[in-house]
Symmetry: C2
């Protein structure tokens, strides 16, 4: 069944050879990078949250929903190691939503943005007979640090993650803190590729490998598993599988030839070729299949 | 009943006094204007189209829907007299939409954008059990022309519109051409305020007046009425009312102390005070009430 990533691959194919002076990083990374006038590169991307997919309006407060759409975008900024600068947003509001509800959505976005000096500078609101949709577009600045893409990982680089993974569905997917400052710090020291973990490590590491033209071996025993996983009463899924596939961790996964073990947990090594493997405690190698979240079309 | 414009006014009140060095034009205009590094100002805004509100997916092709969301944003660029530079977009796709349908949406956006050298450089796709939502964020450059806001109209300025109004529901709301080149031309010559006519002249001229702190008198006999209006079989609404209130004309309304009558139709005069009036052929003055489209929350 064709899905979201087939669509993205098709869009990337439309762009092949077209990136140039103005568009430095075209569609296919966390954010696009544009040359603007002056020294600062303009980094731009957009993300949406849909009722019933990314949040549940019957459960989550409008303030938290607003925060989430901003924080997802700030996490994309982190993935490129850029500095958030401003945002614009849309709300498609169910008919009957009150003015107070709309204000809470806005305050959620602006609260989360203001924490990173990233004001909401514009937007569009409409009401309809559908469910709530929020989108937010973020503008970032390179501000002295070359944007980090998914495409620079090299065989021999170590692979790091910035925090424990899995079980975010219990609440962390609404309340995470985007790793903007840490991303700027590690990019200044030196890294080769980076992504934020929104679709699950097994999918997101694959994005790095595909765009860098490399493979990877990760060690099962080194994957940091979040305490939330133990609270998920699942019999069919192991804790490791939750950490590999759950998604919405919003930690960073990055690669580097340098030792970043004080800033992240080393979980494996980039390899030549194109295979993604998990090495278990008994040295058994297993293919790392993408088990994370993909929107099917 | 509180509506979209109450919400926008509240957001504007949140910003009062906060615009500064980085945010030159805050929320409340067609687009926001940001200071970036270098000489070029960064102009940014976002617009959305919702199934059943701005288009009907049972009637309109995905190519035309994609075109519309890009062209609405290009029309906002025209309203600020800026040069479109790049766009990012989201699609919330109904479950079961095919990959081909998604491609057609993208091609509609990119076709319309490429006509103005405005590529789609990034985006986000998700599927859900709701109806189709497209959003598009546009980035423009000042490129040597100071952005034109809604706030500069002065008593004595003439009011112009760039084309005939009314009846766009018959099809023009999907097929219009944004007035980007004309906007740049008239802004170079000299204008004081501008807006694109999306909500209807009676609402959009009010936006100029409110933000400029002025009033207006327009002459009924001078309002150019589109031929489409005569095809609307309405008994309760006059052709003039259609031209004043229908909306989605995507022509420009601008004010100037100069004579722009070769580039637009003069329809009236900006006045001191805050009254918006229509002068009828028999010299009768009538208050111009906002009859255009407002989303109720």
């Amino acid at each position: 069944m064709p899905g979201e990533f087939d669509f993205i691959r098709w869009i990337m194919s439309q762009w092949r050879g077209r990136a140039g002076e103005r568009v430095i990083v075209p569609p296919g990374d966390d954010l696009a990078v544009l040359k603007w006038s002056g020294d600062d590169l303009l980094i731009v991307g957009v993300d949406q949250v849909l009722d019933g997919v990314h949040f549940d309006s019957a459960v989550h407060s409008p303030r938290d929903i607003g925060r989430k759409v901003m924080n997802r975008n700030l996490s994309d900024c982190a993935a490129m190691a850029c500095l958030p600068a401003a945002a614009v947003a849309t709300a498609a509001l169910p008919k009957g939503a009150s003015l107070d509800y709309a204000k809470e959505l806005y305050l959620g976005m602006s609260d989360a943005g203001n924490a990173f000096d990233c004001p909401v500078v514009g937007g569009d609101t409409a009401s309809w007979d559908g469910k709530l949709v929020l989108t937010l577009t973020i503008l970032g600045r390179s501000a002295g640090i070359q944007p980090v893409t998914r495409a620079g990982a090299k065989a021999g680089d170590a692979i790091f993650v910035t925090g424990p993974l899995g079980g975010s569905i219990l609440g962390r997917h609404m309340t995470f803190t985007p790793r903007v400052a840490l991303a700027r710090e590690i990019a200044t020291i030196g890294i080769s590729a980076m992504i934020d973990l929104s679709d699950g490590l097994s999918r997101d590491l694959r994005h790095i490998c595909e765009q860098s033209g490399v493979g990877a071996i990760i060690e099962a025993s080194r994957i940091p598993i979040h305490a939330d996983v133990s609270r998920l009463a699942t019999t069919s899924t192991t804790p490791l599988e939750h950490a590999l596939h759950d998604g919405e961790d919003y930690e960073l996964c990055f690669t580097s030839a340098l030792d970043h073990s004080t800033r992240g947990t080393p979980i494996g090594t980039i390899t030549a070729g194109d295979k993604l493997l998990v090495k278990h405690a008994d040295n058994r190698l297993e293919e790392l299949k993408p088990g994370g979240f993909e929107h099917s079309l």
